[in-house]
Each structure stands twice: as structure tokens, then as C-alpha cells.
């Protein structure tokens, strides 16, 4: 079985791109399944089910979805093997700009959309910087110039990545992407011993643990104070 991790900001087009790509993979006779990670809720599982794609979902609730991802990915891989998949895709809503679900030696794809603004690429952390492939969606609603500028910004923060334009609505580019996702020789049996591409901060403060009262005496753990005198952090 192959494993590919998709990540990207909310509503950037991950599910649309994955569905179109799976269509091309199915035509090659490959069995593909998806596990969706999100924080509070998702209806993506219904979309995948409708398309006849085996799917599971995991909601991290109050936790950072990427932390939750690492703690569960082993089980997810077991499920994929049990289903007899050729390719297992994970879709994670990139809700935390500081974390990313990417694992060394496992193909990592970041989905961004042209509408998010040209300063988005530099604001997104490891989720974009550590990806092997950056997919840019929604090219149909911007001009050629805007696409070129956006792609050059993506390239600037991750020059090593393959940058591809895929349209989540009409599937343009999805066939091409599908050719990069599956390698026959590759066999993932277990992720034991593999490492994350980028460490995730614990980011634990008293509020993470359920504190609701406001005031210095209630703030414990990893607390950082805003600098109101200067012009903010550099």
C-alpha cells in the first residue's frame, strides 16, 4: 500500500482535488481510500462515500488536529491495509499554521488556493515549506497574472517542491497529479520508527487544559505575553 498525506487551509479545495484525482486512479484499476482529520466537524466523509471511496474520519475536538493525526496514524494505516487499499490518502484540515502532519519518506502534498491572497504562502509554516508537492486550486476564478504571482510566492518559500495547478471543479490537472501519487514498488506496512518532518510544539497553557478565568494568576505553563510598547514582534 502507498500512503500520501494531503494538508492545506480550510476550504482550499483538498477534498475536490482528492476526489478528481481518485477518479483518474480508479481508471488505472487502483483501490483508494481516504481518512479525513478535522477539528470540530466535517461532512467530507459523506462526499467520499457518495463517490464510492472507503472512508473514515477522525475529529480531534479541542486538540490540534495535527497532534491528533500523529497519535492515530498507525491505526489509520492498519485500517487501510485491512481494506486492501493500493493507496491510502489522509486529508487534514490545516488549522494550525505551526504544525503539519508530514512524515519523512511519506509523500506530502499541500493544497492552497489562489483566492487566499499572495501573502498566504509566507504565512503558512511547515505545512507548505515541508511539502513535496504544492497544489494550487481555483485558478479558474483569477487571472493568469494572479496565478503566476501566487505560484512564484509558493516557489519562494519552497523552491524544492513541485508546483501544480489543479482545478477542483472541472478536474483540470487532476490526471497529471494522479501520475505522481502511486508507485508500484512502494510498500508501507507500518510507520513505526518513521519521523515527523517537523517537530510540533506542545503549546500547552492553562487554557488548553480547560481554564476559563481571565487573569495572570490563572496563566500557567507555556505563556507568552504580547509586547504592547514596541510595534509588535519582529
Amino acid at each position: 500500500m502507498n500512503l500520501v498525506t494531503f494538508s492545506g487551509p480550510p476550504s482550499s479545495g483538498k477534498t475536490s482535488v482528492i476526489l478528481k484525482t481518485i477518479k483518474a486512479l480508479k481508471e488505472r484499476g487502483l483501490k483508494v481510500g481516504v481518512v479525513k482529520f478535522d477539528a470540530l466537524s466535517t461532512d467530507d466523509d459523506i462526499l467520499y462515500e457518495k463517490a464510492g471511496v472507503p472512508v473514515r474520519k477522525g475529529l480531534s475536538g479541542a486538540l490540534c488536529p495535527d497532534h491528533y493525526f500523529v497519535s492515530n496514524i498507525e491505526e489509520v494505516v492498519e485500517w487501510g491495509k485491512g481494506e486492501g487499499l493500493d493507496l491510502l490518502i489522509t486529508e487534514s484540515a490545516g488549522l494550525c499554521n505551526r504544525c503539519s502532519p508530514y512524515i519523512k519518506e511519506i509523500k506530502a502534498i499541500c493544497v492552497l488556493d489562489n483566492l487566499s491572497g499572495i501573502n498566504t504562502p509566507k504565512k503558512i509554516g511547515p505545512m507548505l515549506k515541508m511539502a513535496d508537492i504544492a497544489i494550487i486550486t481555483k485558478g479558474d476564478i483569477v487571472s493568469q497574472a494572479e496565478r503566476e504571482v501566487f505560484a512564484s510566492r509558493v516557489n519562494m518559500v519552497n523552491p524544492g517542491a513541485i508546483v501544480m495547478h489543479v482545478n477542483g471543479l472541472n478536474g483540470q490537472g487532476a490526471f497529471e497529479l494522479s501520475t505522481l501519487l502511486y508507485e508500484k514498488e512502494e510498500k508501507i506496512d507500518s510507520l513505526k520508527g518513521k519521523k515527523l518532518r517537523f517537530s510540533m510544539p506542545a503549546a500547552l497553557c492553562s487554557y488548553c487544559l480547560g481554564e476559563t478565568r481571565i487573569g495572570e494568576s490563572y496563566q500557567m505553563g507555556n505563556v507568552r505575553k504580547i509586547d504592547m510598547n514596541g510595534k509588535g514582534q519582529k
Binding site: 499572495i118 493568469q144 494572479e146 503566476e148 519562494m156 524544492g160
Partner: protein, 346 residues
């Protein structure tokens, strides 16, 4: 990493002098170089403390490779001449949707040619455009093969973000960025690293104004341009500022611009233009047209002289319709005379 060694010894100030584009690179990667001009890259990176690395989610090792990759890419990019030297595009036959071999002689398209692609809905027009964009090598559903300048295409056409073979004119006619025309073009010019930015920008605005009905000035916000003006600006920008030697147009509708002039502008800049269309007016504007059916290329037809005459007739009819549209817009009544009247400034 051709530059790996050379970069190690150089100071930031020297690097910036050699590669001015690194300024934006450092900015976008959240690296502060103020007051650090005398350091080398590795010294610079080592001045960033653990906290800051963690805060900004930086990875020193990855950054080091990225800088050198980026410089390599930019040198290659800047070294290319404007059109990346595509003089000829060749399409070799594959097979149609039912698996039968396509039966046509290799189709050769030269720069400055306009090719239209016609065929019923779902026949494979967009697929053909995609084959070209991906420089298909018998590895798409059509099994077609694309050659560039009679040779197997370089991998860069598929994967590099700055050397795209194909620019595509969007169907959408609105910009989403909140900038003036001038700022917008400056931004695009910067990302393409053109020299003589100002004269390029002036040229684009000038050409765009020739395509659109009403003129606009450089300080207009792009979001408040009319549909026709936006489209005109997009086309002029693609013709003049895009690095891609091939322009694809998938269904350009009639949008208050002079489509003939628009196509002439594109091929005037030595581009190859391919457009999929259902519109006879556009189809006949091509020098040749590719006919597609059931996923396969059926024929290549050269636009005949008789058809060219028909085209001028069609243009007249089009102009009549435009004239009526205008009258209706301004609350006027139509009379049967309008059927004869051409709209002079459509």
C-alpha cells in the same frame, strides 16, 4: 545544488549584489538580514536562536538547500530569452475514446500561429489542451505525444513553476487582488523579474486600452474595471508579461473586447495560440482548425479563403448584435433598421 560551494564563502552583501531577488526571498522566509550584511549564509542562519527558529518554524538545513535551489532556478530562468525558445510544437497521434488509433499526420504548429479546436461537447477539446500543457508522452488517456522544437520536451515544462509552457486565459473576467492597475502590473513584473519595468507596464496599459471599448488609467483599482476592461488587461498582460510561449484559451466568450485584435496582440508577441471553441467567429479566426470527435483528432483544416470572407460577414453580423445590445442597455427601442446597422465602436 550547483551553487552550494560557491555560496558558502560569500557574504550576504555580496549575494544580494549578485542576486537582488534574494531580498524578497529572505523576506518571504521571515529571515531578518538587517545589519547582517557581513555574514555568510551559514553565519546568518546560526545567529537565529532556538526560540526564533521555533517561533517562525524555520529549519536551517532545509533553508540552506532552499537558498541554493532558488538561486539555481532563478539563474536558469533569467538566462532564458523571453519566449523560452519554443519555435514549434508537434502533436503526434494517439488513440480516441474507444481505443482506435488516431489517423492524422503529425500536426506542426509554429510560433505566431492561431489554431482553433472544434468538436461537440465532451469530445476531448479540453483534453487536447491538457495534453499540450503536460507535454504528454504516451502517458495520458489519449496516448498522444508532444514534441517541442522537434525534440522530446524538457522535464522543466512539467514541473517548474517559473518556466511554464502554457499560459491560460481565464474564463473569469474579474480580478480578486485589491490593487490599482499600476500596482498590479508592478507586482507581476517583479515576480517575473523584468528589466525596464516601467516601459513594460506602460506598454501593457496602452495595448489593453486598444482592446477595450472605454479607456482606463493606471490608478484605477483592478476590481473596479468593467468586464471588457478586465479581459483586455488580462490579455495584454499575458501577451507581454507572461513567460509562457503558448497561450491556451478554453472558451473565451464575447466580452466587450475586440477579440480579433486580442488574438493579433498575442501572436504578435510570438506566442502560439490554441483555443477550444464552439463559436464560429473564433473558429474561423484560426489559421487552421483541429476537429475532434469521440476523443480523437479527426482532421486538420486550413481556413479557406472563402471561409475568411465568411468571417468578415460574421464580424458584421456580430457588430449588428453588439449595436442592438448597446441600444437596449440605454433604454432605446429597436427598429427593423437596426438589423442593417453596424455598431462602429463595439
Amino acid at each position: 545544488m550547483k551553487n552550494g560551494k560557491r555560496l558558502k564563502a560569500r557574504k550576504i552583501s555580496q549575494l544580494l549584489e549578485l542576486y537582488p531577488f534574494l531580498t524578497t526571498f529572505f523576506e518571504d522566509n521571515l529571515i531578518n538580514i538587517e545589519g547582517k550584511a557581513d555574514l555568510t549564509i551559514s553565519e546568518l542562519l546560526s545567529t537565529i536562536d532556538e526560540d526564533e527558529l521555533e517561533d517562525k518554524a524555520l529549519d536551517v538545513e532545509k533553508l540552506t538547500t532552499n537558498i541554493s535551489d532558488y538561486i539555481d532556478q532563478m539563474i536558469e530562468f533569467l538566462g532564458e530569452d523571453g519566449n523560452n525558445g519554443v519555435a514549434k510544437l508537434t502533436i503526434l497521434p494517439g488513440r480516441n475514446k474507444t481505443g482506435e488509433d488516431e489517423n492524422f499526420d503529425p500536426i506542426e504548429i509554429n510560433k505566431s500561429e492561431i489554431i482553433s479546436i472544434v468538436g461537440p461537447t465532451g469530445s476531448g477539446k479540453s483534453r487536447l489542451l491538457a495534453d499540450i500543457e503536460w507535454t504528454a508522452q504516451e502517458d495520458t488517456p489519449t496516448m498522444r505525444k508532444i514534441l517541442i522544437n522537434d525534440e522530446l520536451p524538457d522535464k522543466k515544462w512539467r514541473f517548474s513553476s517559473s518556466n511554464k509552457l502554457v499560459a491560460q486565459l481565464s474564463q473569469n473576467m474579474n480580478f480578486v487582488m485589491d490593487l490599482t492597475v499600476k500596482e498590479f502590473l508592478e507586482l507581476h513584473a517583479k515576480s517575473r523579474m523584468v528589466e525596464e519595468e516601467q516601459s513594460v507596464i506602460d506598454k501593457i496599459i496602452n495595448e489593453a486600452n486598444k482592446l477595450a471599448g472605454e479607456k482606463f488609467d493606471p490608478d484605477t483599482p483592478v476590481t473596479s474595471l468593467s468586464g471588457g476592461q478586465s479581459r483586455a488587461l488580462m490579455i495584454a498582460d499575458t501577451a507581454i508579461l507572461s513567460s509562457s510561449p503558448i497561450v491556451l484559451i478554453d472558451e473565451i466568450e464575447n466580452a466587450g473586447i475586440d477579440r480579433k485584435k486580442a488574438l493579433q496582440l498575442l501572436v504578435g508577441e510570438e506566442k502560439i495560440v490554441l483555443m477550444a471553441t464552439h463559436d464560429p467567429l473564433l473558429a474561423l479566426m484560426g489559421d487552421k482548425r483541429i476537429v475532434i470527435n469521440n476523443g480523437g483528432i479527426k482532421k486538420l483544416i486550413k481556413t479557406s479563403d472563402e471561409e475568411k470572407d465568411i468571417l468578415s460577414g460574421l464580424e458584421k453580423m456580430d457588430s449588428v448584435v453588439q449595436g442592438m445590445r448597446k441600444k437596449l442597455r440605454y433604454g432605446e427601442l429597436l427598429s427593423s433598421e437596426d438589423l442593417m446597422k453596424e455598431n462602429k465602436n463595439a
